[in-house]
Amino acid sequence: MSEVPQNASYMVAAYVITAVILVGYAVSLYRRTNKP
């Protein structure tokens, strides 16, 4: 029976990048809306 591939670092990278993009855009919208 084959072993499960050890590639969790790719998964972590994808999850971190997605969070950074989404939170970054949310912050950008907040700052642009509240710009004086």
């Binding site: 590639n7 919208l29 809306t33």
Partner: protein, 226 residues
């Protein structure tokens, strides 16, 4: 409560839901035996891809109706949907290669699905550049509408490209005529993620729409008045 505040609260709720998706996907969803943990990228990549394509379809439909009705609200919505679609397309084009490297052995390949998705991203960027470059609000809305309709026409090709050509990209395992080929727990996580991304799209678009309204109120010019 103002429109911007409604959008902000929707986004906050969506981000909390997304955090719950992260916990469920990483801690409570089984690891796929052949692909390993990298398969869990699926729970972000596919919902983001669905909203990348849906956002462009909505841009195209709003653009068609704008050209007939000249209603500034349609142009404003198209602009908001295009900006949010660009954000989701960025997620698709970053998570895709990160998933591809351990499974396919390469970050990128110029096959039909990947290349057409990249083209859609360029259309999104072009759409936003046109909006930034043309000063006249009426002309800006019309030029952008044409690009939005072109983008909408590309979406069915992207979805069908894996059936029409031999590609490295796999065929859909959920959005297909037969039943989804995912175990129940994985399907539940994916549906939860799709709901979170849907809420994110709604929250972002409401906020972006409110931002355009605010700019027009401060003299930015509305295409409906031209």
């Amino acid at each position: 409560m103002t429109l911007a505040q409604k959008g902000r609260w929707t986004t906050v709720v969506a981000l909390v839901c997304l955090a719950a998706v992260y916990v469920r996907a990483l801690a409570f969803t089984p690891v796929e035996r052949l692909q390993g943990p990298a398969q869990k990228i699926y729970y972000l990549h596919v919902p983001a891809a669905i909203w990348t394509e849906t956002a462009m379809i909505l841009v195209g439909l709003a653009s068609i109706f704008y050209l007939f009705l000249k209603d500034a609200r349609l142009d404003r919505f198209a602009e908001a949907s295009a900006e949010v679609g660009t954000v989701f397309a960025t997620i698709v084009l970053t998570t895709g290669p990160i998933w591809g490297k351990p499974i396919w052995g390469t970050w990128w390949t110029w096959d039909a699905r990947l290349t057409s998705t990249l083209l859609l991203f360029f259309l999104y960027v072009g759409y936003l550049l046109v909006r930034g470059a043309v000063r006249d609000p009426g002309l800006r809305a019309r030029y952008a509408a044409v690009l939005g309709i072109c983008g909408m026409c590309l979406v069915p090709f992207i979805h069908l490209s894996v059936f029409m050509f031999r590609t490295l990209h796999p065929q859909p395992i959920i959005l297909k005529p037969s039943a989804p080929s995912l175990p129940g727990s994985m399907l539940a996580t994916w549906l939860f993620s799709l709901a979170a991304f849907t809420l994110l799209y709604v929250g972002f678009v409401i906020q972006r729409y409110a931002l355009s309204l605010g700019r027009e109120a401060h003299g930015g010019g509305s295409p409906g008045h031209v």
